[in-house]
């Protein structure tokens, strides 16, 4: 991040509006730390990484690897906007993948199999949402239940055995491309655009943010807080289910032990690193996508340049904290 070397102190409260209108480099880097880091990483790779700026690498390696986390993170961002968290996404991916694979292997055909898998994921989301919205259980605990039990359920469906799925139509979800763009990337763009539109231009979008910002006030203002939360958890789980199917299709096998393992942490990190506070009340699909791309590219860059995976992991942890810190400074400076 060469820009930050000339960064002056955070703008004072009085000067903030003017600074923001001008979008000076200093304010910009602070507000959009993750985006700046992404640009810096792209420039670095363009200069120093062989074969980086090829369509094959950008589309089929970088973007296709980042897209699954991005899609799950978009659902996670909706939940986080309501001041919640969804720890169950990885387990839901495993359940959805297993259900889809089982249905396909039992000969239901492609569409019913996908529908069944997404339905299973939706049910998981409704379970989470009901606990949170109707019973007032804390989100971290409510979704911890499926985090723990969900993987066991997925494993029980086939006694933990791997299922090979080589249906070509199904593999399209993981290996195919639309107009030369990998399916995952297309879906990421579609989902991000849909959530962007919903958040920006529909009453539900405003309800979502109001619920997370100040729940008692939102309730008094007539916002259907419970329904909003239920929908947020249902969406998060359904998107996780979709990604679970994509992962099964990509590796042509459903592995309940490993599908989606650790996905909740990657998704939360992607949401947080781009400046969405975990305390709710904000959602920015663009920032989430940037966060997911940045974290993935960071890891790939480090590994491509001979840094071991473990050290890359350490650096990632450090970058997450640094990004949050820089953006929080900016947030406090702006008022």
């Amino acid at each position: 991040m060469p820009e930050t070397t000339t960064t002056p102190a955070a703008p004072s409260a009085a000067a903030a509006p003017a600074v923001r209108r001008k979008t000076s480099w200093a304010a910009y880097t602070q507000r959009y730390g993750a985006g700046t880091a992404l640009v810096a990483l792209l420039i670095f790779n363009a200069l120093f990484t062989a074969n980086f700026l090829t369509p094959a690498n950008l589309l089929y390696v970088q973007l296709r690897q980042a897209a699954p986390v991005g899609i799950v993170a978009l659902g996670m961002a909706m939940v986080i906007a309501t001041r919640g968290i969804d720890l169950s996404v990885g387990s839901v991916m495993a359940i959805s993948g297993q259900v889809g694979a089982l249905a396909l292997l039992s000969g239901t055909g492609l569409v019913p199999a996908v529908a069944l898998a997404l339905l299973a994921a939706l049910l998981c989301g409704l379970f989470n949402g009901t606990l949170v919205a109707r019973y007032g259980v804390q989100p971290i605990i409510a979704t911890l239940i499926l985090f723990i039990a969900g993987r066991g359920i997925a494993q029980l469906l086939t006694d933990g055995r791997l299922q090979n799925v080589d249906d070509p139509a199904f593999q399209f979800f993981g290996l195919g491309a639309i107009a030369g763009i990998p399916v995952q990337v297309v879906l990421l763009v579609v989902v991000a655009a849909a959530i962007w539109f919903v958040a920006r231009s529909t009453p539900f979008g405003r309800y979502l943010v109001a619920t997370g910002d100040n729940e008692p006030a939102a309730r008094l203002a007539g916002v259907p807080v419970r329904r909003v939360k239920l929908i947020a958890y249902a969406t998060s789980a359904t998107l996780a289910g979709l990604v679970g199917l994509m992962e099964v299709a990509r590796v042509s096998a459903s592995d309940a032990n490993n599908t989606g393992l650790g996905m909740e942490l990657d998704a939360i990190a992607a949401v947080a690193v781009a400046g969405t506070p975990l305390t709710g009340g904000r959602i920015s699909p663009v920032a989430v996508v940037i966060g997911a791309l940045m974290l993935r590219l960071l890891q790939n860059t480090l590994i491509a340049h001979g840094v071991s995976r473990e050290v890359a992991q350490m650096i990632t942890g450090f970058i997450i904290v640094a990004a949050i810190y820089v953006q929080r400074q900016a947030g406090e400076g702006a008022g």
Binding site: A272, L278, T316
Partner: protein
């Protein structure tokens, strides 16, 4: 101070039923086990269960204080892995240096969490999530991604064989740690401050309580206990595999919640966490026994389903109890 005392007393009244709920379940399962399986269950099996539990319990003890202060520590599993790795690597130097090093490493990382949360005032969830990732990376780097085998010649591995008062020494250690923890919570200003900070950080600050210092200490303590737990594991099993500690943070949170401590902070009990840890472990122990009797055929995959189902049960019970409290008007909702 009067207000604080009243606050604590009311909180412990409120908690009594929840705490005893877990305790009653624990006693019921123990009686069931003893009646059904007799000596096979009661003697050595239970001692081993407690020895095994000690490391999880230490992590959960630290987590209890963190949660009571209104925070969360997701990094404990990774810190335990790192503690285990350094303890195993230093095991040739003997028991005390190896354990001391593990505790120091844990304390250092916990302090780092504490500084970022208490002084820089970043969100606990994010800070400890980043630590979860980063510390695991560090541990894998130190261990070269291989299981670290502890030295067999020094006194390090004797720890797993020692007994005190007829119990494995790790179990004795666990009970001692929880008694100290309970005493700290009940009888010291620090303990009361933890609850006050968790209840309302702003109110605690206005009362002039050392909020930042208290938060720092709970994370430092959680890190040190996690490091110690890793050393326990290394000494008991003689080696530390790279997947050590994965999911420990969530098991610890589950045990704390099952014990009846509310995640919102401000209320809680140390001994009930111990009940929660032992209870969750005992369930699996009983499943193993049932399987061995041939009475039921339950694959290991059921373990997590049952654990999750149990957590659901406890959570719904808590909801019911807290609603009754709220409608009775004896405590704030």
């Amino acid at each position: 101070m009067n207000q604080l005392l009243a606050f604590r007393t009311r909180a412990s009244n409120v908690l009594a039923l929840q705490r005893h709920g877990a305790l009653i379940a624990l006693i019921a399962l123990l009686v069931f086990g003893i009646v059904r399986y007799g000596d096979r269950f009661a003697g050595e099996n239970l001692a081993n269960l407690l020895a095994d539990d000690a490391k999880f319990a230490l992590v959960a003890l630290g987590m209890t204080f963190v949660i009571m202060s209104g925070g969360i520590d997701l990094s404990v599993g990774s810190v335990a892995l790192l503690g285990g790795v350094v303890a195993a690597q230093a095991s040739g130097a003997g028991l005390v240096p190896a354990f001391g090093l593990a505790v120091l490493v844990g304390l250092a990382l916990g302090s780092l969490n504490g500084v970022l949360i208490a002084k820089v005032r970043l969100e606990p969830f994010i800070v400890t999530l980043a630590a979860l990732l980063g510390v695991r990376g560090l541990a894998l780097y130190l261990s070269d991604k291989k299981a670290v085998v502890a030295s067999g010649t020094g006194s390090f591995q004797d720890f797993g064989r020692w007994e005190l008062l007829g119990l494995p020494v790790s179990a004795v250690f666990m009970f001692a740690a929880f008694l100290i923890g309970a005493a700290v919570l009940r009888y010291t200003a620090f303990g009361r401050t933890v609850l006050a900070v968790g209840g309302s950080e702003d109110a605690a600050r206005l009362m002039g309580l050392p909020v930042a210092r208290t938060k720092f200490v709970v994370y430092a303590m959680s890190g040190a206990l996690a490091g110690l737990a890793g050393a326990f594991l290394a000494a008991q099993t003689g080696s530390v595999s790279t997947d050590t500690g994965i999911g420990w943070e969530l098991s610890a949170i589950a045990a704390v919640v099952v014990g009846g401590t509310l995640l919102t902070g401000g209320v809680g009990s140390v001994m009930s966490t111990l009940v929660g840890v032992v209870l969750l472990q005992l369930i699996f122990n009983l499943i193993v026994f049932e399987n061995s009797m041939g009475a039921i055929e339950i694959s290991s995959f059921w373990e997590s389903v049952i654990r999750g189902g149990f957590l659901l049960l406890v959570v719904l019970l808590q909801v019911k109890l807290s609603r009754r409290r709220a409608s009775g008007g004896t405590a704030p909702a």
